[in-house]
C-alpha cells in the first residue's frame, strides 16, 4: 500500500511536469493579445477569447491543406512500399536478402542534416525542388527503413505455409501479395500509418529547406514564420500550435482502437 502511494506520488509529479507546457499553451491561446505578458503567463484567461484561433486558422489554413497534401500521399505510399518490401524480405528470401535488409535498416541512422545538400541538388535536377511532390518523394524514401522494418517483422510472424498454400492454390508472387499478405497486415498498416503520419506531419527541417514559397510550405514552417521579427503574437502562435496537433491526434483516436486490437490479436494464426 505504502509502495503504491509513493509510486503514484512520483507519477503525479512527472505528469505535472509534463503538462505544464500544455497548460501554458492552452491558457495563452485563449487570451487576447493585450492580456499576454510574461508576468501573467501562469494566470488563467479572464474570459474565453477564441479570436486567436480564428486569426491563426485564417493565417495557416492554406499551409494546413499543404500539410495534408504532403502527409496523406507520403504516408500511404510509404506504407504500401513498406508492406511490399516486408513481404519480399520475409517470404521470398533470396541470396543476400538479409544483407539488403540490414543495409536498408542503416538508413534509419542517417541524420537528416547530413544529406541536405545532396538532397537539394538531386531534387533540383529532377525538377521537384521547392514543391510538395519533392517533399513527398523525400519523406517516402526517408521512411523506407522504418516501414520496411515494421512490415518485415509483422510478416515474419505469419506462417510461411500460408504463402505456400496460396502458391499451390494458383497465386504468383503478386497475387499472394494482393489477395493475402496485403489484407492480413492491418495491424502493421496501423503502426506504419500512425508512425509515418505523425513524423511527416511534424517534420520541420526538410520542409524548411525544400520549400521557400509560402504558398507551398507545410504548416510547421508556416507556424514558425508566424512569429514576426519585431513582435510575436503569442496567443495566435499558441493557437496555431494547438491547431497543428489536431490531425495526428485524430489519427491516434481513430486508429488507436485498431492499434490495440492488432496488438491483442497478436499472431495471425489461421
Amino acid at each position: 500500500m505504502k509502495k503504491k502511494i509513493i509510486l503514484y506520488f512520483v507519477l503525479i509529479i512527472f505528469l505535472i511536469i509534463f503538462l505544464v507546457p500544455v497548460y501554458v499553451l492552452m491558457v495563452t491561446s485563449l487570451k487576447g493579445f493585450e492580456e499576454v505578458s510574461l508576468a501573467s503567463m501562469w494566470n488563467l484567461p479572464k474570459g474565453l477569447n477564441f479570436q486567436s484561433f480564428i486569426s491563426a486558422f485564417d493565417k495557416l489554413k492554406g499551409n494546413f491543406l499543404n500539410s495534408l497534401y504532403l502527409t496523406i500521399p507520403a504516408t500511404v505510399i510509404s506504407a504500401l512500399l513498406g508492406s511490399w518490401n516486408g513481404y519480399i524480405l520475409s517470404k521470398w528470401k533470396f541470396r543476400g536478402s538479409d544483407i539488403i535488409f540490414t543495409l536498408i535498416l542503416f538508413g534509419m541512422f542517417i541524420p537528416y542534416q547530413s544529406i541536405l545538400i545532396p538532397l537539394v541538388l538531386v531534387l533540383r535536377s529532377i525538377g521537384l525542388y521547392g514543391s510538395i511532390p519533392g517533399l513527398i518523394v523525400t519523406h517516402v524514401i526517408y521512411g523506407i527503413p522504418i516501414v520496411t522494418l515494421i512490415f518485415r517483422n509483422y510478416y515474419a510472424g505469419v506462417q510461411d505455409e500460408i504463402v505456400e498454400a496460396s502458391k499451390i492454390d494458383g497465386s504468383n508472387i503478386f497475387g499472394t501479395y494482393f489477395h493475402i499478405m496485403l489484407r492480413i497486415a492491418i495491424p502493421a498498416f496501423v503502426v506504419a500509418i500512425v508512425w509515418q503520419f505523425t513524423s511527416i506531419w511534424n517534420e520541420y527541417l526538410f520542409a524548411y529547406v525544400l520549400t521557400h514559397n509560402p504558398r507551398v510550405q507545410p504548416i510547421t514552417v508556416a507556424l514558425a514564420n508566424l512569429a514576426g521579427s519585431e513582435y510575436v503574437e503569442w496567443n495566435v502562435q499558441m493557437a496555431g500550435a494547438l491547431i497543428i496537433t489536431i490531425p495526428p491526434l485524430l489519427i491516434y483516436i481513430f486508429l488507436g482502437r485498431y492499434f490495440i486490437k492488432g496488438l491483442l490479436a497478436g499472431s495471425v494464426k489461421g
Binding site: 505455409e161 500460408i162 498454400a165 499451390i168 497475387g175 493475402i180
Partner: protein
C-alpha cells in the same frame, strides 16, 4: 492415372543432404505414408513433390508427366499443412473458393463445388465463419476441404493430425481413411507417428537420414523389418534388442538367458552360416508373456529377470525388466502378478524372433 514416381531424387540444402537418391513409386489411388523420425527428410520429399522445393537431382513424375520444372499450381496437387495454413482474413467459404477463383471457374460452379466439399466434411454450417472462430478439428476439416474442393490428382498431407488432441486425432484418422475411399484419389501422407502409418497406409515408406529404409505394406514391414531401425521404429512399444551368441546346437545364448530356436529360425541360421557368431536378437513386446499364463512352455524358452516397472494399461500390462542392464518391455496378461522389485519369468515366442547382424544392423532372412 495419377501415380507418382520419384527417380533418383536427391535434395541438398547447402551441404546437408535431406533426401538421398530416393526411388519410389506411389501407385494410382494408393494411400502411401512416409514415416520416420524428425529430420529424416520425409517432409522435404513431400515439399519437393509439391514443387515448393526444387529437386537437386532426380526426376519427379506425376501421372506420367515429368513435373520438375512445372509450378506447384500446375501440378494438379493439393496440400494439407500441419498448421492448417488457412487464410485468416477469408471465411471458410472463401478459403475453399480461393483456388477455384484463381482458376477462373464460373461462380455458380464454384458455389456447387464448395458446398459439395463442405457436405463431405460436414462443415456446411461453418462456411461463413473466419478461421479464428473455429476449433482445431474444424480448422483441419476446412484445410482438407480446401484440398478436396479442387479435385486434384494427388493429395499431399504433411502431418495433418499432429496439432490435434489425442482423441480427435484418432477420430480424424478414420475420417481421412474414409475420405480416401470416397474420393478414390492418390494420397501421400507424411507423419512421424508409426500408429498413423500402420492404421492408414496401403504402403509405408520408412525413412531415416534421407534414405529410404524399407517400403512395403503395414503388416509386411511390421513382420519382416529390413533392419534394426525399421524394427525399432514400427510398433509400440518398440521391439527389444538383446545381444546373443549362437551355439553349435543353435541355441541363442546371452548373459542371462539361453533360448531354443524354432525351425524357421534354424533355417535362417543355416542359410546365413551364423553358427558360433554374435548377433542381435529382436523380440517384440507382445512375443513376451508372463510364464504363468503360458501352457506347455517349450524347453529353453524363458527369461528370468528383475522387474523394474509395471504399467497396467487395462487390457494388458507393460512389464519392464532388466536384462544385462537393458530395459526390456513385455506385454503380458492383465492378470499377471508381476511386481516391480521382484523376479519374473517371461516366456519367449521362439518362432517370432528376429535376428540382426551386429555390425550392419540388417535383418537376416
Amino acid at each position: 492415372m495419377a501415380n507418382v514416381i520419384l527417380k533418383n531424387l536427391t535434395k541438398k540444402f547447402d551441404d546437408v543432404v535431406a533426401v538421398n537418391n530416393m526411388n519410389s513409386t506411389v501407385e494410382d489411388k494408393a494411400f502411401v505414408v512416409l514415416v520416420g523420425p524428425s529430420g529424416c527428410g520425409k517432409t522435404t520429399v513431400l515439399r519437393t513433390i509439391a514443387g515448393l522445393e526444387e529437386a537437386t537431382e532426380g526426376d519427379i513424375y506425376i501421372g506420367d508427366r515429368l513435373v520438375n520444372d512445372i509450378a506447384p499450381k500446375d501440378r494438379d496437387i493439393a496440400m494439407v499443412f500441419q498448421n492448417y495454413a488457412l487464410y485468416p482474413h477469408f471465411n471458410v467459404y472463401d478459403n475453399m473458393a480461393f483456388g477455384l477463383r484463381l482458376r477462373r471457374i464460373p461462380k455458380l460452379e464454384i458455389n456447387r463445388m464448395v458446398h459439395e466439399a463442405a457436405k463431405i466434411l460436414k462443415i456446411e454450417d461453418l462456411l461463413k465463419r473466419k478461421p479464428k472462430q473455429l476449433s482445431g478439428g474444424q480448422r483441419q476439416r476446412v484445410a482438407l476441404g480446401r484440398a478436396i474442393v479442387r479435385d486434384p490428382k494427388v493429395f499431399l498431407m504433411d502431418e495433418p493430425l499432429s496439432n490435434l488432441d489425442a482423441k480427435l486425432r484418432v477420430q480424424m484418422r478414420t475420417e481421412i481413411a474414409k475420405l480416401h475411399q470416397r474420393l478414390n484419389a492418390t494420397i501421400i501422407y507424411v507423419t512421424h507417428d508409426q500408429t498413423e502409418a500402420m492404421t492408414m497406409a496401403d504402403k509405408i515408406i520408412i525413412m531415416k537420414d534421407g534414405i529410404v529404409q524399407q517400403t512395403g505394406g503395414p503388416q509386411e514391414v511390421y513382420d519382416h523389418p529390413n533392419n534394426m531401425f525399421v524394427a525399432g521404429f514400427m510398433g509400440s512399444p518398440a521391439m527389444n534388442f538383446l545381444d546373443a551368441a549362437i551355439t553349435d546346437r543353435m541355441i541363442l545364448k546371452g548373459g542371462m538367458f539361453e533360448l531354443n530356436t524354432a525351425d524357421r529360425i534354424k533355417k535362417i541360421i543355416k542359410d546365413n552360416n551364423l553358427i558360433g557368431k554374435e548377433i542381435v536378437l529382436g523380440i517384440r513386446p507382445e512375443d513376451l508373456e508372463d510364464s504363468n499364463f503360458v501352457q506347455n512352455i517349450p524347453a529353453n524358452s524363458t527369461i528370468n529377470a528383475n522387474v523394474e516397472v509395471t504399467e497396467p494399461m487395462g487390457s494388458e500390462i507393460y512389464v519392464y525388466v532388466d536384462i544385462e542392464g537393458i530395459l526390456i518391455t513385455a506385454r503380458v496378461n492383465p492378470k499377471s502378478k508381476c511386481r516391480s522389485g521382484e523376479k519374473a519369468s517371461l516366456c519367449v515366442d521362439i518362432d517370432k524372433m528376429h535376428l540382426f547382424d551386429k555390425d550392419t544392423e540388417k535383418s537376416y532372412i
